[in-house]
Assembly symmetry: C2
Homo-oligomer: 154 residues x 2
DNA sequence: CCAGGGATGTTGACATGTCATCGAAAGTCG
DNA sequence: CGACTTTCGATGACATGTCAACATCCCTGG
């Protein structure tokens, strides 16, 4: 095994910045979401693609692919949201194994009420803190990082 | 209430990059850590500052500040790591409320064994995917984002 | 001194996320 | 068709993270 090449100061700064800042940023946004709209981050994540789908119905498998979640994570989260009345499960006609997730009226009302303030918070804490030039660099750079991850996580 | 200003394509790209990196990059690194070293991300996070402290002893309060965790999170995690034999709790002489966390021999052996491969993975997935110019932009930019967060998260 | 406010750590309840496993159904290929 | 493999979703066990409530203890103003 070759000798370990540790991170130099600039590398460590960028690395700590990414993980530390991003975790805090996400935490801050989620708190505002819970406080102002009564929705958790996980709930918001699933409600967005559901609200954009025709009739507000998406197959569980496709929902998972849209947000990058595994099957069991989707299943657990849908169960919790079903209890809260945000979504409902239905049978899938085309595939007897499948499960369709339907946005309820209450679910649609929640996401419609929550989205504007959430987008405004993303803008306030993240977009507005960066210059145009930085935005031009950060988007493509982070996409390149994602592209290099093992397929399982990509 | 003013009309919502949604994110344009460039803004959405940067934002998706942030979310994706936080979730997938961290997940990929943690999986390698668990697979190769038998340590979770939370365990690694606490073991690093402990291994760098004199005698491997840090007060719980300071440990929390070093890694940006709240008190109860530190307490729960230390309890789990105590069960695994990675750390031990001791009384704090200077402050009877306090709790000192000591790295055990097994804990030190774990972090020493895990660190080289983990640093290599950070380099492989993150540092090496970025150019020097991008690193120069990203570090300071995210530090500016951090400065704009509510104090609780800063 | 000492009463009250702040700091510290623990705990229980609960939400979230991962993994292994299971049963059922669909697809594949002889 | 029939055996084998793959996909899909649900579930239980467990690790992690947040919040509120507590019990202690420190510190400061009067």
């Amino acid at each position: 095994m070759a000798e370990t090449r540790w991170l130099d100061e600039r590398e460590a700064r960028a690395w700590r910045g990414v993980i530390g800042v991003l975790q805090r940023l996400i935490a801050a946004l989620e708190r505002e979401l819970v406080r102002d709209a009564g929705l958790s981050g996980a709930e918001y994540t699933l409600l967005v693609p559901l609200s954009e789908a025709p009739d507000g119905v998406v197959r569980a498998r496709d929902l998972g692919r849209m947000v990058g979640w595994e099957r069991s994570r989707v299943s657990h989260q849908v169960s919790r949201m079903e209890k809260r009345g945000l979504v409902a499960r239905e049978e899938c006609g085309e595939d007897a194994r499948g499960s369709m997730v339907r946005l309820t009226d209450a679910g649609r009302a929640s996401i419609v009420a929550a989205a504007p303030a959430h987008v405004a918070a993303v803008r306030r804490y993240f977009i507005d803190a960066l210059t145009d030039a930085e935005l031009e660099v950060i988007g493509p750079a982070l996409e390149r990082v994602l592209g290099r991850l093992p397929d399982v996580y990509a």
